[in-house]
């Protein structure tokens, strides 16, 4: 049994009945309440504190096959009334769309195991500052670290309630603790920055400040005095921070909307091999304390565990109610996107990947948005470290890497170092023969 605040539940009920009374045939309401406290710390002292209290309501009114959405942070009765009137008025003159509907009743959330998504720990700002102070002190023990872009610690609690006129109403609370540290290293005239970041549902699972600070420092220092390399074809290893981005492109390409509209390089690839047979991709919402875990999706639909890619073959799309109806598929609870999405471990050590060729470009950072989901064309700025004979040698920057994702996916080789640090996670990744543009 999930828990949510009665007073918020009452607002949801009130909105549903009021909207129906004014002529809607169906109504869906989502209410999200969030409180958060963030402190930033820089050069041994507090830089900024930020306390936030937000509430947001989103209401969709259906008049048969017509639909409009209103949303607001102003939940005063007078304003709600105005919004509902406006929503109904707009819905009346919106053209029909035969695929507009609430989720099928049998797909709505029924039950789940306890996911342990709420940690009620409250840290006074002084405690947050202590954490950041320690992280920064550790980073500054390295003489190359000369400055900081600031560290921050944020604690937030969120409550979400979803209700609809088919009688569904449920909600739950989650918490999130995040710490970030970004430092600047310097050598001669060259300055570089890098960061470490940790984000968890429960405070006790965060990285310790020592690790946060020393990792940030280590990353910033290893980028110093970079070289620009000559253009050429390279075998490339993507650090875990970067390899997970490929899952983002993958998930964008298999959402119902891009599949239905044909705006995806993975259209018509269902049941076809898009990776090598060693590759498996899973999306599951029920990982205990998982950063991407949810009890139900944005429409209240139960979240299925999906084996999206099995032995290299694309098995499933990400489907919500609307595109499910269009594609003649059932929603699998992905209104709002993926949950905990990850590549399963490969069968090689990172070290073996590093030794797989005399010269490998290890990428720690990409910059820019050069990914075209329609064609699969990929071109981004990159920086990293050159590996020669299995050893890190010198940093590289101001280069680009480019290729086509359909082709790159087929050549993905994964290490066995998967960790669940974010809501999207990947082991380190090797792709051979990538075009690097430099000098």
């Amino acid at each position: 049994m999930l828990k949510f605040s009665n007073n918020l539940g009452d607002i949801v009920d009130h909105c549903i009945s009021k909207t129906k009374k004014k002529g809607a045939t169906d109504v869906e309401v989502a209410l999200i309440k969030n409180t958060s406290e963030t402190v930033s710390f820089r050069n041994k002292k507090l830089d900024e504190s930020n306390r936030a209290e937000n509430i947001g309501l989103s209401l969709a009114a259906y008049i048969n096959k017509k639909k409009t959405i209103v949303s607001s942070s102003n939940l005063k009765n007078g304003n709600l009334e105005k919004l509902i009137d406006r929503c109904i008025d707009a819905a009346k003159i919106t053209p029909d769309d035969e695929f507009n509907s609430l989720p099928d009743k049998e797909l709505l959330f029924k039950s789940s195991k306890e996911l342990d998504l709420l940690d009620n720990t409250h840290l006074e700002n002084s405690k947050k500052i202590e954490y950041l102070k320690e992280a920064e002190e550790v980073a500054f023990r390295n003489p190359e670290i000369v400055n900081t872009n600031g560290s921050s610690f944020s604690e937030s609690k969120t409550e979400v309630i979803i209700g609809n006129s088919k009688g569904f109403k449920n909600g739950y609370k989650t918490s999130n603790f995040t710490a970030y540290c970004e430092v600047v290293s310097k050598s001669n005239g060259n300055m570089e920055r890098d960061y470490e970041y940790t984000s968890k549902r429960h405070f006790e699972n965060l990285l310790k400040p020592v690790e946060l600070g020393s990792n940030a420092a280590k990353f910033a220092i290893r980028k110093l005095k970079p070289q620009k390399i000559n253009s050429g074809k390279f075998n490339v290893i993507f650090d875990k921070r970067i390899s997970k981005n490929f899952l983002n492109y993958f998930s964008n390409a298999i959402t119902g909307s891009s599949i239905y509209k044909g705006t995806s390089f993975l259209k018509d690839k269902l049941n076809k091999k898009i990776f090598s047979e060693k590759i498996n991709i899973t999306d599951r919402g029920d990982i205990e304390r998982g950063n991407g875990s949810k009890y139900f999706d944005n429409e209240g639909v139960q979240i299925k565990n999906l084996s999206l890619v099995k032995n290299g073959v694309l098995n499933d799309y990400l489907i919500d109610t609307y595109y499910g109806k269009k594609l003649n598929l059932s929603s699998n609870g992905r209104s709002g996107g993926t949950t905990n999405l990850y590549f399963e471990n490969g069968d090689q050590e990172l070290k073996d990947l590093m030794n797989s060729n005399e010269k490998i470009f290890y990428i720690t950072e990409t910059i820019g948005h050069g990914t075209n989901i329609v064609t699969g064309d990929y071109s981004v700025g990159a920086a990293g470290i050159m590996i020669e004979n299995g050893e890190f040698t010198y940093p590289v920057s101001e280069v680009t890497i480019a290729g086509n994702l359909s082709d790159m996916f087929k050549r993905v080789i994964l290490a066995n170092d998967l960790q669940f640090n974010y809501s999207i996670n990947s082991p380190s990744m090797l792709i051979e023969d990538i075009t690097v543009a430099g000098k």
Binding site: S73, N79, I93, T94, D97, E192, R193, A402, A437
Partner: protein
């Protein structure tokens, strides 16, 4: 007179008292109130896919002592909530002993009208235009397989209540119209996006000739890309077209000249004022005063009137862009660049309309002078690493140049360069300065604000083009 408080449960004199008491002994701060409305109507896949309307009301209370900022915001505009915020700020800044500077200069100049674009045009006629756009594009070219057209309208009222009771206000309209098309021909697909917008009513941008022009432009770019070949890889000369390609300037030098990064000495430009950072003939300004432009503001989000700020004059770095906090700490004045996305966000120095002024070369001259390079006409987004100075931007329409002639179109590729040196590589500045069509949104530290850019054609001696062809 506070219009926002008049319609709330919070009495203006109570608010004034809380503000003055909270900011006692602080160096700066204010109560920022926001009442905003926005709508989005999307046509997609032959249908009105969604229509949504959002109204937001909230406040942000900010207190600053020396270089420490305490901020608290809420969507609950009541005495109780504001008192809690005040308490939170005071406990954060327990040892404050600053001097509040209440002075904010005023110009009373307005660069746009107060109209509300959402109410000025009825819903039905907006839907009608979107449907016409869809029909027009599909009729015009049978290879059009998808059309997405979006209308975004916004009206934002802001009030800044300073300690002592002074209230500064601004009413900001903003609209944007976007068309995205996907073409499919001989098994190949390409998309392109084009849009227009600014701080006026929809009708200023959506006369039949206007929206048809947007459609034609999106269709033209997508058609060019259907015939594109793989882009080259490596360093070469680059000719940039006028207008929107000025996101090069926004990324390469704009962000690096924002006051906060320079006060903190984390920008690659922090110690370069008075020095040459660009070729002779390169002058770059940041201008908040252009009428009805997307990046223009009558006053910034701290109440400072905006202005035309010279950043680089004839190649020499002159000024940074400042908000009040960074200006005070750097012993200079705010340039009216203090901006925030909404009441949920703290103020930072941000760009407005960032523009490179005309030189005296022609685009033809530039192309003629290039042996091997690319001609980049249209762009997607860009990004920069302030500290190392490395920046990228993505071409969405580009051609190869061989022996002084424009050749085949090439696929979208990322261009990468180094901010502090890129503008020293400028060989020619064109005489054809153009502003972008009014579509830019700049992201910084998780906040998005509307901005503009502009430039004439440019010839850059050396940039790395991130294609696949070695």
């Amino acid at each position: 007179m506070s219009k926002i408080l008049k319609n709330s449960e919070l009495d203006v004199s109570i608010a004034n008292n809380i503000v003055s008491e909270t900011l006692n002994n602080c160096d700066d701060g204010e109560l920022y109130l926001e009442d905003s409305k926005s709508e989005a109507i999307v046509l997609d896949d032959n249908k009105i896919k969604s229509s949504s309307y959002n109204s937001n009301l909230g406040y942000g209370l900010r207190a600053i002592t020396d270089d420490v900022v305490a901020y608290s915001h809420s969507s609950d505009l009541t005495k109780k909530s504001l008192n809690e915020s005040s308490k939170n700020l005071k406990s954060t800044l327990s040892s404050s002993k600053g001097t509040y500077n209440s002075e904010i200069k005023k110009t009373n100049k307005k660069y746009y009208s107060e109209q509300d674009p959402i109410e000025a045009k009825n819903f039905k006629s907006k839907i009608e235009i979107l449907n016409q756009v869809n029909e027009y594009l599909r009729k015009k070219d049978s290879s059009v397989k998808q059309v997405t057209a979006t209308m975004l309208g916004e009206h934002k009222s802001i009030e800044i209540i300073r300690s002592g009771g002074e209230i500064l206000t601004d009413e900001r309209p903003l609209v944007r119209f976007n068309v995205s098309v996907m073409l499919e021909k001989n098994g190949r697909k390409e998309t392109a996006v084009y849009g227009i917008g600014g701080r006026q009513n929809y009708d200023a941008y959506l006369k039949e000739a206007n929206w048809k022009n947007v459609c034609d432009e999106a269709l033209r770019i997508a058609s060019v890309n259907l015939n594109s070949k793989p882009a080259p890889a490596g360093e070469m000369q680059v000719v940039l077209g006028p207008g929107w390609p000025a996101i090069l300037i926004h990324e390469a030098v704009g962000h690096g000249l924002e006051g906060d990064f320079n006060r903190k000495k984390t920008s690659a430009f922090h110690n370069l004022v008075g020095q040459r950072v660009a070729s002779e003939g390169v002058t770059i300004i940041d201008d908040g005063t252009l009428e009805n432009r997307r990046g223009s503001l009558s006053i910034d989000d701290e109440g400072t009137p905006t202005e035309k700020t010279i950043l680089i004059e004839n190649g020499i770095l002159k000024n940074f862009m400042q908000d009040r906090l960074n200006a005070r700490l750097m012993n200079t004045r705010s340039t009216g660049n203090g901006r925030r996305e909404s009441y949920k966000h703290v103020v930072m120095p941000r760009m407005r309309n960032t523009i490179m002024l005309n030189g005296n070369h022609t685009q033809e001259e530039m192309i003629k002078s290039v042996k091997k390079g690319i001609f980049a006409v249209s762009f997607g987004g860009g990004q920069v690493d302030i500290t190392s100075g490395k920046f990228v931007f993505n071409c969405t329409e580009a051609y190869e140049i061989i022996d002084g002639k424009v050749g085949s179109p090439i696929k979208g590729a990322t261009l990468i360069g180094d901010g502090p040196s890129a503008l020293k590589e400028v060989l020619m500045v064109g005489d054809d300065m153009m502003l972008d069509p009014g579509i830019g949104t700049c992201g910084k530290a998780g906040q998005g604000v509307p901005v503009g850019v502009g430039q004439p054609s440019l010839l850059i001696n050396k940039m790395t083009v991130g294609g696949t062809q070695l």
